[in-house]
């Protein structure tokens, strides 16, 4: 391990680090928005739309991000739709992540105890009131573990952006390895860079998960 080589590469990695963080943030926020919209449409069984969103969720969840990105980046231009690599990356990540988030929220809504729903019904609540006061608050709390897992997953999925030459962390490390043939050093920096992002994220998420769980269910 040559520390000088590592030292020299740090400014380049710093830029890539920022890009990975930025792409992750946009991807996660976009995914949560798409996920909420999609799970609400599925919950209320909005005619036609709910079938469309169910199909979307299944398609996006059950295919690899890499192929989705290849489609956006290489196949769409043939149809006349040309987008920058970063745009493709973000759209692809939100397409995938939105489906995962939708599954997570739907799982939470379905996980709400039937006895809780009955108890709301026994108080005369209509479907909208039941959703607003019983199913959603408890369902979102129940979906926190899935939300946390999805956030961690999506950050790691940005590494696949390297296949369409977005200069995020993994792509940068591969470029450097290709140019200088120093795999140990650059892979080391790469792993450390992911650790610097992931460890705080994992810690914060598990803290939030406990807080929300306790706030909603008391254990």
């Amino acid at each position: 391990m040559n520390w000088q080589i590592i030292d020299q590469s740090l400014p380049i990695f710093a830029k890539a680090f920022q890009l990975t963080c930025w792409l992750s943030l946009v991807g996660i926020i976009g995914s949560i928005i798409v996920g909420i919209i999609s799970s609400l449409i599925q919950y209320f069984k909005v005619p036609i739309l709910s079938q469309i969103f169910t199909a979307y969720v299944e398609l996006a969840r059950n295919t690899p991000l890499l192929i989705q990105l290849f489609f956006l980046y290489y196949a769409f231009p043939v149809l006349g739709l040309k987008m920058s690599a970063e745009t493709c990356g973000i759209i692809g990540l939100i397409f995938l992540g939105g489906a995962y988030m939708a599954e997570g929220f739907t799982g939470g809504f379905n996980g709400v105890n039937t006895s809780q729903i009955n108890s709301g019904k026994a108080l005369g609540m209509n479907d909208l009131q039941l959703a607003h006061y019983v199913v959603f608050p408890q369902g979102f709390a129940l979906s926190m573990p899935a939300l946390a897992a999805n956030i961690i997953f999506l950050i790691k999925e940005t590494s696949i952006f390297s296949v369409i030459a977005i200069p995020e962390l993994t792509n940068t490390a591969l470029d450097l390895i290709g140019m200088y043939y120093r795999s140990n050093e650059y892979l080391f920096v790469l792993v450390v860079a992911y650790a610097i992002i992931m460890i705080p994220v994992i810690l914060i998420l598990s803290y939030l998960e406990k807080r929300v769980r306790y706030g909603s269910f008391g254990n």
Binding site: N113, N118, K121, A122, G124, Q138, S216, F217, G218
Partner: protein, 246 residues
């Protein structure tokens, strides 16, 4: 003559091929207490849940306050505001405080004013001895306290009938007495119409104006309360009372 508040005619319920309720018929007068008795699995809870539409019964007719109930979900939502229910597992909303639990339905479903409902809730809480706990969360309460809050939550809707589904079954014995006392008071002082599923025989004997004895989803006996516990009409009911050491 007493006013008829609830009438059930030819009610049947199936789960798949299995018939859970067979041709249930009975009537209940305002201000009276009906107790459903019978071995576990006899259909008592199922019947109770049909009465506020939590179960979609297969066939039969329910009349509430003289009017035939149109069994659509929409219609049941209105009727449930007048039929309170308390469950075995309390089912307070864990994400809301005691006061929020009580206010939720009167405010949001019945659209009553916050000041009114709060005043009434405070009075009811005082009555069950829990006025100190207005801002507590359900997780901070014992089982018996939760169940008292659940009763208050149902009463705050001003129900015409209260349904109690084995409300003492998951409580420690020392908690049971307090809940039963509240229920007796409701009957004696407020003349609340109540339908009770319970295994507390001496309580049932004291409070019941009318007893339905069920087995395998059928009503074997529909008898005035005092009579059922002293000289039941059927052998099965006698055996049941013996088995409960009554």
């Amino acid at each position: 003559m007493a006013e008829e508040i609830l009438k059930v005619e030819h009610l049947n319920q199936f789960y798949g091929d299995w018939q859970a309720l067979h041709d249930i018929n009975f009537t209940l007068n305002r201000g009276e207490v009906l107790t459903l008795l019978g071995p576990s699995g006899s259909g008592k809870s199922t019947l109770l849940r049909c009465l506020n539409g939590l179960e979609n019964y297969k066939s039969g007719t329910i009349y509430f306050e003289g009017k035939k109930v149109d069994p659509t979900e929409k219609n049941w939502q209105n009727i449930r505001q007048k039929i309170g229910m308390v469950f075995q597992s309390y089912d307070l909303f864990p994400n809301l405080t005691v006061m929020e639990n009580i206010l939720l339905a009167p405010r949001k479903v019945q659209k009553r004013s916050e000041v009114d409902v709060k005043q009434e809730a405070t009075k009811l809480l005082k009555r069950v001895g829990l006025e100190k706990y207005v801002n507590a969360y359900p997780r901070e309460l014992s089982g018996g306290q939760k169940q008292r809050i659940a009763i208050v939550r149902a009463l705050a809707m001003h129900p015409e009938i209260m349904l109690f589904d084995e409300v003492t079954a998951s409580l420690d014995p020392e908690m049971v007495r307090g809940i039963l006392k509240i229920m007796s008071d409701l009957s004696e002082k407020d003349h609340m119409t109540m339908i009770i599923v319970t295994h507390e025989m001496s309580f049932a004997a004291k409070i019941a104006d009318q007893v339905l004895f069920l087995e395998d989803g059928k009503i074997l006996e529909d008898t005035p309360g005092k009579e059922f516990f002293t000289k039941p009409k059927t052998k099965r009911a006698q055996e049941f009372l013996d088995s409960m050491n009554f």
